[in-house]
């Protein structure tokens, strides 16, 4: 019935479909979404059948999460698009409107109240189902107990506060909250991004169960094999545009990858060949309170050390300790064989360590200031006569960076917030460069920026490495980590799980290090030897 078209020949095609229209529980017609400076979705149309598991696939920034957030009422689409539920057009102004249409969502970011109990969180979105004004703690208990045991989570106490759980357990609570709702459509945005393999398997069982009960599931994941095992159909997005919808049975993983990345696959991560030199930064048993424990590594001149791990593995916290943003309670940091004690960022900068932070809006830039002032954030602190700033000179510096980093702005006086993610990232980096840093820390350097700009960022990183800079790069995208890094340090809940050398880098291996149970890592790991080596 369904015709499979070779994806290599056609960039966009639609599935030919003979199912009558009213069988669709959900239809999207020409949905677009524009954020200031970024077009997140362009004319996307798709449909979902009753009782179907429909996977949404695409690289970071492809628009999957935006689509999910439109369906859940979190964002409103641009005018011109249409959403139909059971054949009837709907408008969601608020998440509660979507909930009324029996659409339930597991968001990528956790949406739990940390100081409430597990049970309270699970019933938070179901209060309309309980009559009257009073809470029914015993009912909640029953609901929570039932779902948690169905999920095989006997270690999670429903009466404990969510704050006391690990990130993985919090993710499970998030799942429990969604699957106990009365839903006709469940949206899942990377529900397995921080849970273990066995928990993932239990989730898959639950999805099959939902499907058997006629519930449709829209499922986002980076992990192709996961989608392969569960999805009926797959819709692929790329750079906010629809690539196509295919039957899972008709395609191979290779086809899907091709659809996801288009033709530029080989050009995304430009190759670079850099001589790796002496040790620049050496960290021994770095510990910061209860959060970061016992991290040891070395980074050399011209080397890019990747840092991998799941959400909540406290990679950022570890880097913050290096940069003086968190106290180092134990362990030593050596820079060119000399021990240093950065107690605050100012001291770290004096040692010529730079930190391109993860959250550009919060810690990377001042969004309301113009580009040239952002670039000169550090330069302006140089000693000067009576605090006088030579803006003509500073603007010149800004122009220089604009040229070398290819920062695309109409003029350097442009306000920062109006730039696209990629250009913002370049400015966030530019401000460090006049200090010729010896170590640059990149925390998720390509988050929220489009593929073209990503490639440019990798190129810039390559050039910095070629000039002898030691680079630390945190990334949650395994392909990026594996292609860009020379070695990868894997963390889990603040502990170091090993350092993976170039020849052993595979997504599966890094993932297994990042997710294995923390109690006894060596036991269930097939990589005993390596774990010992790394320590």
């Amino acid at each position: 019935m369904l015709v499979y078209v070779n994806v290599l020949e056609l960039s966009t095609y639609l599935l030919e479909d003979f199912v009558s229209m009213d069988e669709y529980v959900l239809e999207l017609r020409n949905i677009s979404k524009t954020f200031p400076g970024v077009v997140a979705l362009k004319n996307v149309s798709m449909n979902v059948k009753k009782g179907e598991v429909h996977a949404l696939l695409g690289e970071n920034g492809a628009g999957k999460s935006t689509l999910i957030k439109i369906l859940s009422g979190y964002h409103q689409p641009d005018k011109g698009g249409e959403i139909l539920i059971n054949g009837k057009p709907v408008t969601f102004k608020e998440p509660r409107d979507a909930i009324k249409s029996a659409i339930v969502t597991i968001y990528q970011e956790l949406t739990l109240c940390p100081d409430m109990t597990v049970a309270e969180n699970i019933v938070l979105d179901k209060q309309n189902e309980f009559k009257g004004f009073l809470l029914r703690q015993s009912d909640y208990q029953v609901i929570a107990d039932r779902v948690l045991s169905a999920l095989g989570q006997h270690e999670i106490d429903p009466n404990k506060s969510v704050r006391s759980l690990s990130i993985a357990q919090q993710q499970v609570v998030e799942i429990a909250k969604a699957v106990t709702s009365k839903a006709q459509i469940v949206l899942m945005d990377e529900p397995t991004s921080s849970i273990s393999q066995s928990d993932t398997n239990k989730l898959m069982d639950i999805i099959r169960n939902l499907k058997a009960n006629g519930v449709s599931v829209i499922y986002i994941s980076h992990r192709l094999h996961e989608i392969n095992g569960i999805a009926d159909r797959i819709t692929v997005l790329r750079d906010g545009e629809l690539v196509g919808t295919v039957n899972n049975a008709d395609v191979t993983e290779q086809d899907l990858i091709q659809m996801m990345v288009g033709r530029e696959l080989t050009n995304v991560y430009p190759k670079r060949d850099v001589q790796i030199g002496d040790t620049v930064l050496k960290v021994e048993n770095l510990t910061s309170g209860e959060l970061v424990k016992d991290i040891s590594f070395e980074v050399h001149k011209g080397e890019i050390l990747g840092i991998g791990g799941l959400v909540g593995s406290r990679r950022t916290e570890m880097l913050e300790a290096l940069f003086g943003l968190r106290p180092v309670t134990e362990g030593k940091i050596y820079l060119n064989d000399e021990e240093i004690h950065p107690k605050n960022p100012r001291q770290a900068i004096k040692h010529r360590i730079a930190f391109v932070t993860e959250d550009r809006k919060k810690t990377g830039l001042v969004a309301c200031l113009p580009v040239f002032e952002n670039i000169n954030m550090l330069n302006a602190q140089r000693p000067s006569f009576a605090g006088y700033l030579n803006w003509a000179q500073l603007k010149e510096i800004a122009q220089k960076h604009r040229k070398t980093l290819d920062i695309r702005v109409s003029k350097i006086e442009q306000i920062m917030g109006s730039l696209s993610g990629g250009n913002q990232q370049k400015v966030a980096l530019a401000k460090w460069l006049d200090f010729s840093p010896q170590v640059i820390i990149f925390d998720e350097p390509t988050r929220g920026i489009d593929i073209g700009a990503k490639t440019e960022i990798y190129q810039i990183m390559g050039e910095l490495a070629a000039r002898g800079t030691a680079i630390l790069m945190v990334s949650s995208e395994l392909p990026e980590l594996i292609s860009v890094a020379d070695r990868i340090l894997v963390m889990q809940e603040g502990h170091m799980k090993g350092i993976v050398e170039k020849e052993k880098m595979t997504q599966e291996y890094v993932m297994s290090l990042a997710t294995q149970k923390s109690q006894n890592p060596a036991e269930n790991s097939p990589m005993k030897g390596l774990m010992n080596d790394a320590r």
Partner: protein
């Protein structure tokens, strides 16, 4: 440094946990012990009842404030609303113009409107509640002063002072104490046992999560600010009854005293966490401080100085414990 954390005996950590949990109670007990040792008359039942009586109108407002602060908000205008309540009631019943009960109802509706206005401007205008209520604090006070031309209005109806102010149940317990404890019980129930309390805590804990859970955030906030008006109404009546007149100047310190009590009780200014018991304890601390220092002969200006220091101490302790918890 690590030796302290890692090798600390189990019993010590559970002790610390208990100390964290009941820190308000601990401060209160220490304070009361010290005052009792210095001035034995402090623990005389009569004096303790006096403390409870002087605390009553602050506690009532503090209970309403617990909802507001748990939401992540603030209401600085409650003292001014209390003053409006006192003077409008006094004016309505003056010279027998109106029977007391209808007058009370009118004033109740008025105080609800004033509270609702705070919430409405803050929610619809998307303005920080701090700014809104800073403004309405002045507006409502201005209203009370304008209505009375700045002069007190005596309340001359029978029984009013007895019921809300200086009367005693069984000739022993001052009526304001009874009123405030009844309000406490109701507040505790609403806060912990009803959907409304649940939503207040969830919105304060994570507004976005509550929004995606389909909770009507605006409605909950509007309701909470309207309720804060009702709490101010009760507090205003007690104040008016104690003075036997509507004073346009009444309740100047009310909002800040109530906020201090709530904070001392461990409710987080950022929202999400709080208890009514904590607020009761916090208000008791402030009332005991006032009373104890008066007994020691300290004057008002010394009292507020110490009160400020105690608040800083309590919040510092709060933070220290929180960072230890992580």
């Amino acid at each position: 440094m690590h030796a302290n954390v890692e090798t600390a005996p189990k019993s010590r950590t559970t002790f610390m946990k208990l100390l964290i949990r009941y820190r308000t109670l601990v401060i209160l007990i220490v304070l009361m012990t010290v005052f009792s040792l210095l001035r034995p008359v402090f623990i005389d039942p009569k004096n303790l009842l006096a403390i409870l009586k002087n605390m009553s109108y602050v506690l009532v407002v503090g209970l309403g404030m617990t909802f507001i602060i748990t939401l992540g908000g603030l209401d600085l205008s409650v003292g001014s609303i209390a003053a409006v309540v006192g003077v409008t009631f006094a004016m309505l019943v003056r010279g027998g113009t109106m029977a007391p009960i209808p007058a009370l109802l009118i004033v109740l509706v008025l105080s609800m409107l004033l509270g609702f206005f705070n919430g409405f401007v803050s929610v619809k205008g998307k303005i920080e509640p701090f700014l809104v209520t800073l403004a309405t604090m002045n507006i409502y006070r201005g209203l009370a002063l304008t209505l009375t031309k700045g002069k007190p209005v005596p309340i001359v109806i029978p029984h009013f002072a007895d019921i809300f102010g200086n009367g005693r149940l069984f000739g022993v317990i001052p009526t304001p104490v009874i009123i405030s404890l009844v309000i406490f019980a109701i507040s505790w129930f609403v806060y912990t046992q009803t959907k409304f309390g649940f939503f207040v805590r969830s919105i304060g804990g994570n507004q976005e999560a509550s929004r995606v859970a389909g909770i009507e955030i605006s409605k909950v906030k509007l309701a909470a600010y309207t309720m804060s008006g009702v709490y101010a109404f009760i507090s205003g009546l007690i104040l008016a009854a104690l003075m036997n007149s509507g004073l346009p100047d009444a309740g100047r310190d009310l909002a800040l005293d109530a906020i201090s009590g709530v904070i001392l009780g461990g409710t987080a200014l950022l929202g999400g966490v709080g208890t009514m018991w904590g607020t009761l304890g916090g208000c008791l601390i402030i009332a005991s401080l006032n009373n104890g220092m008066s007994l020691l002969g300290a004057q008002y200006h010394v009292q507020i100085l110490v009160k400020g220091l105690v608040i800083i101490f309590a919040v510092l302790m709060d933070n220290a414990f929180k960072s230890r918890q992580r």
